[in-house]
C-alpha cells in the first residue's frame, strides 16, 4: 500500500528520536500477553477476539443475504436458515456488540482518561477476557456441532422443550460470557469512583467516561437476570422444571419478561459507549467545547435508568396485558428524550465549529444520521397500534440494524480510527479511511433502507422464502450487504498494514484535548503516565476560534 494516498502533517508524525519504552515493547513472549494485567494489553486481546467474532457473525449475514437474493429457498433449507440467523444474532450481539466498545476502547482508555495507572482490579480484568473466551469457545463448539435454531432470543417453549439443536451448549456459552460483562462493568464503576487523578472531578470527566459509567450500571444490574433466565431454560430442558412450560404450571411469557429486562437495556450497553465515542470525536474535529456537557452526561444516566423501564414493548403482540403494554408504550416514548438531547447537543457543538472531515469525524457524522433514523423508527415500534402492523417484519430488522450497525458499529469504527494512533503508535492511510467510511455509509443504507419498505409491505422476518413482489427490494439489500462487507474489509487491510508500515504517530496527532492525548505518549508507557497528572481544566477546553467571532 502506498503512503502517497495520504500526507500526515508534521504535528501528526512522531519525532524520530521517539523510541521510548511503551506497553507494546514491554514484553514480547506469549506469556507476557496471556498473563498480562495491563489494561491496554487486555484491550488488545479483546480487540483480536471480537474482530474474529465480528467476521464470523458477518459470514452468517452474508449467507442469509445470499439466500434472500431469490424468493425461493435455493441455497439452504428452512432449518439451516433458522440456524444462520440465530448464530448471526448470538455471535454479533453477545460476542461482538456488547463487548466491543467497552472491552476494547473502554478498557484501553478509561484509566488514561481519568489519570490512573490501570483499572481498579487488573486481575479481574484479565479474568473477564478469559471468561469471555471460554464462553466464546462453547458457542463456537455449538456452531461446529450443528448450530442452534431458536433465534438469538431463545424464546420458550421452543428453546426449552421443542428445539433439537444445541441449545444447551449455546446457553452455557452465553451464560459464561455474561459474567465477563458483569466483571468489566464492576471494574469500570469502581475505577471511575476511586481512581480519578487529583483535580479530575465528576464534571471534568470526559463524556466517554460518563457513558461507560452508565453502561456499567446496566451491565451489573441487568446481566444477572438474563444469565438466570438462560440457566432456567437449561434446567427446564434437562430436568423438566415447570418455570416456562404451561403444562407444568409455568408461563412462557415469564421468559420474555426476564429476557427483555436485560436485553432491551443491552441495546443501551451497545449504544451508550458509542455515544461516548461520538462526544469525543465531535468536539475534537469541531475544535469546540461540547454544547451542554452536563445534559449529555446526565442523559447517559437517564438512558441507563429509563432503558430498564421499557422492555415490555417487545411483547405487545405476545399476549401481554393491554394495560401493561400501554404503560410500556408511554415509557418507551420517554426514553427518546435523553437520546434526542444528545443528538441536538452534538449538532449544536458543530455549529460555528472549526469542522474538519477526517475519517473519525466521517464515521461520527454517519452515526448521528443513522442513529436518528434508527431512533425515530423505534418510536413507530413503541406505538401500540403501529407495532401490531409491523411486529416481526423486516421493519423491525431494519430499525434495530440502524441502531446496532448504523449506531454502535459506526461509533466503534469512529473510535477505532480516532484512537488507533494512540493504541498502536501508528498512523493509518487517511485517504483509504475516508473512502471506507463512505463505502460503509452507502453500503449500510442500501442494505437496510429497503428492509424498512419491504417490512412495511408485510414481509416477515426469519423466513427463507418470500413472495416474488419483494424480490427487487431484497436484491437491493443483498447488493448493499456486499458493499458493506467490502467497506469493513478495507479497514482490516489498512489497519493491519499500518501496524508494521504506518508512519509513527505523535502523542497528539489530532490536536485533541484530554489526558490520554496531552499527558501520555503514543503508544502509552506501561504505567500510562510518567507521574500522576493533576487536572486543572474542564473537559474539551479548546481554544475559542470561530464560534466567538
Amino acid at each position: 500500500m502506498s503512503t502517497a494516498v495520504f500526507k500526515p502533517s508534521k504535528s501528526q508524525l512522531a519525532d524520530q528520536s521517539d523510541g521510548a519504552s511503551n506497553y507494546l515493547n514491554a514484553g514480547f513472549s506469549a506469556k507476557s500477553w496471556l498473563l498480562t494485567v495491563d489494561h491496554k494489553r487486555i484491550a488488545i486481546l479483546y480487540l483480536i477476539s471480537i474482530t474474529l467474532f465480528f467476521f464470523l457473525g458477518g459470514l452468517f449475514a452474508v449467507l442469509i443475504r445470499l439466500e434472500l437474493l431469490t424468493p425461493q429457498g435455493d441455497l439452504m433449507q428452512a432449518e439451516t436458515y433458522n440456524k444462520m440467523f440465530t448464530m448471526h444474532g448470538i455471535v454479533m450481539i453477545f460476542f461482538f456488540l456488547i463487548p466491543s466498545i467497552p472491552a476494547v476502547l473502554g478498557n484501553f482508555l478509561i484509566p488514561l482518561m481519568i489519570g490512573a495507572k490501570d483499572l481498579a482490579f487488573p486481575r479481574i480484568n484479565l479474568l473477564s477476557w478469559y471468561i469471555y473466551s471460554v464462553g466464546g469457545l462453547f458457542t463456537f463448539a455449538a456452531i461446529v456441532f450443528g448450530g442452534v435454531d431458536t433465534g438469538w432470543t431463545f424464546y420458550t417453549p421452543y428453546s426449552s422443550t421443542y428445539s433439537n439443536s444445541n441449545v444447551i451448549l449455546v446457553a452455557v456459552g452465553v451464560f459464561i460470557t455474561g459474567f465477563s460483562s458483569i466483571l468489566t462493568g464492576l471494574n469500570f464503576i469502581v475505577t471511575i469512583h476511586k481512581m480519578r487523578a487529583p483535580g479530575m472531578t465528576w464534571f471534568r470527566l470526559p463524556l466517554f467516561v460518563w457513558a461507560h459509567y452508565a453502561t456499567s450500571i446496566i451491565q451489573v444490574l441487568g446481566t444477572p437476570v438474563v444469565t438466570a433466565a438462560i440457566m432456567l431454560i437449561g434446567l427446564e430442558r434437562l430436568f423438566g422444571f415447570g418455570i416456562f412450560d404451561p403444562k407444568l404450571g409455568g408461563d412462557p411469557l415469564l421468559f420474555q419478561h426476564l429476557f427483555w429486562f436485560y436485553s432491551h437495556p443491552a441495546v443501551y450497553i451497545m449504544i451508550l459507549p458509542g455515544m461516548g465515542v461520538i462526544s469525543e470525536v465531535i468536539t475534537c474535529f469541531a475544535k469546540k467545547k461540547v454544547f451542554g456537557y452536563s445534559f449529555i452526561a446526565f442523559s447517559s444516566i437517564a438512558i441507563a435508568v429509563l432503558g430498564f423501564l421499557v422492555w415490555g414493548h417487545h411483547m405487545f403482540t405476545s399476549g401481554q396485558s393491554v394495560y401493561t403494554s400501554l404503560v410500556f408504550s408511554i415509557l418507551t416514548f420517554l426514553v427518546a428524550v435523553p437520546s434526542a438531547i444528545k443528538v441536538f447537543n452534538w449538532t449544536a457543538t458543530l455549529y460555528k465549529g472549526a469542522v474538519s472531515y477526517d475519517a473519525p469525524m466521517l464515521y461520527a457524522l454517519g452515526f448521528i444520521g443513522l442513529f436518528t433514523i434508527g431512533g425515530l423508527t423505534g418510536i413507530f415500534l413503541g406505538t401500540l397500534a403501529v407495532d401490531v402492523h409491523v411486529h416481526d417484519t423486516y421493519f423491525v430488522v431494519a430499525h434495530f440494524h440502524y441502531i446496532m450497525v448504523g449506531g454502535a458499529i459506526m461509533a466503534y469504527m469512529a473510535g477505532l480510527h480516532f484512537w488507533w494512533p494512540k493504541i498502536t503508535g501508528r498512523l493509518y492511510p487517511e485517504g483509504w479511511a475516508r473512502f471506507s467510511a463512505l463505502v460503509i455509509f452507502i453500503g449500510f443504507h442500501l442494505t437496510f433502507f429497503p428492509q424498512f419498505i419491504v417490512g412495511y409491505l408485510g414481509m416477515p422476518r426469519r423466513y427463507h422464502v418470500y413472495p416474488e413482489e419483494f424480490q427487487i427490494l431484497n436484491v437491493l439489500s443483498t447488493a448493499g450487504a456486499t458493499i458493506l462487507g467490502v467497506g469493513y474489509l478495507i479497514p482490516l487491510i489498512y489497519f493491519t498494514w499500518s501496524l508494521k508500515s504506518g508512519p509513527k504517530a505523535s502523542a497528539n496527532p489530532w490536536g485533541a484535548k484530554g489526558l490520554e492525548w496531552e499527558k501520555a505518549s503514543s503508544p502509552p508507557s506501561q504505567y500510562n503516565f510518567e507521574k500522576t497528572p493533576v487536572v486543572t481544566e474542564e473537559a474539551y477546553d479548546y481554544e475559542p476560534t470561530i464560534w466567538l467571532k
Binding site: 430498564f308 423501564l309 415490555g312 399476549g319 396485558s321 394495560y323 401493561t324 404503560v327 410500556f328
Partner: protein, 105 residues
Amino acid sequence: MSQHIVPMRVYFVIFFSLLILTAVTVWVAFFDLGAVNDAVALGIATTKAMLVILYFMHVRYSSKLTWIFAATGFLFLIILLAFTLSDVLTRDWIPVSAGWGGGAQ
C-alpha cells in the same frame, strides 16, 4: 481503605441462623398455608439473603456509597417484579378475542 474486623462469633451466629432458616423452609413446606405459601417461602429466603449481604458481604460495615449500590440492586429487582406482575395480574381484564368468527369470549 479501612477494614472492619468482624469477630468470628458473628460469622458463626449468622451461619447457624442460615441453617435454621433453611430447616424452617423445609418444615413449613409440609403445611398448606393457602394464599400465604409463597409469601412465607419468599420471606424466609429474603431474610437469608439479607443476612448474607449484610454480614458475609460486609455491607453492614461498608460506606454509604456501597449501601446505595446495594439498595439500587433491590430497587431494580422491585422494578422487574412490579412490571412483570402488572402483566400477570391484569392479563384477563380484557377478554381475548376468539378471532374473526367468534367475537369476544
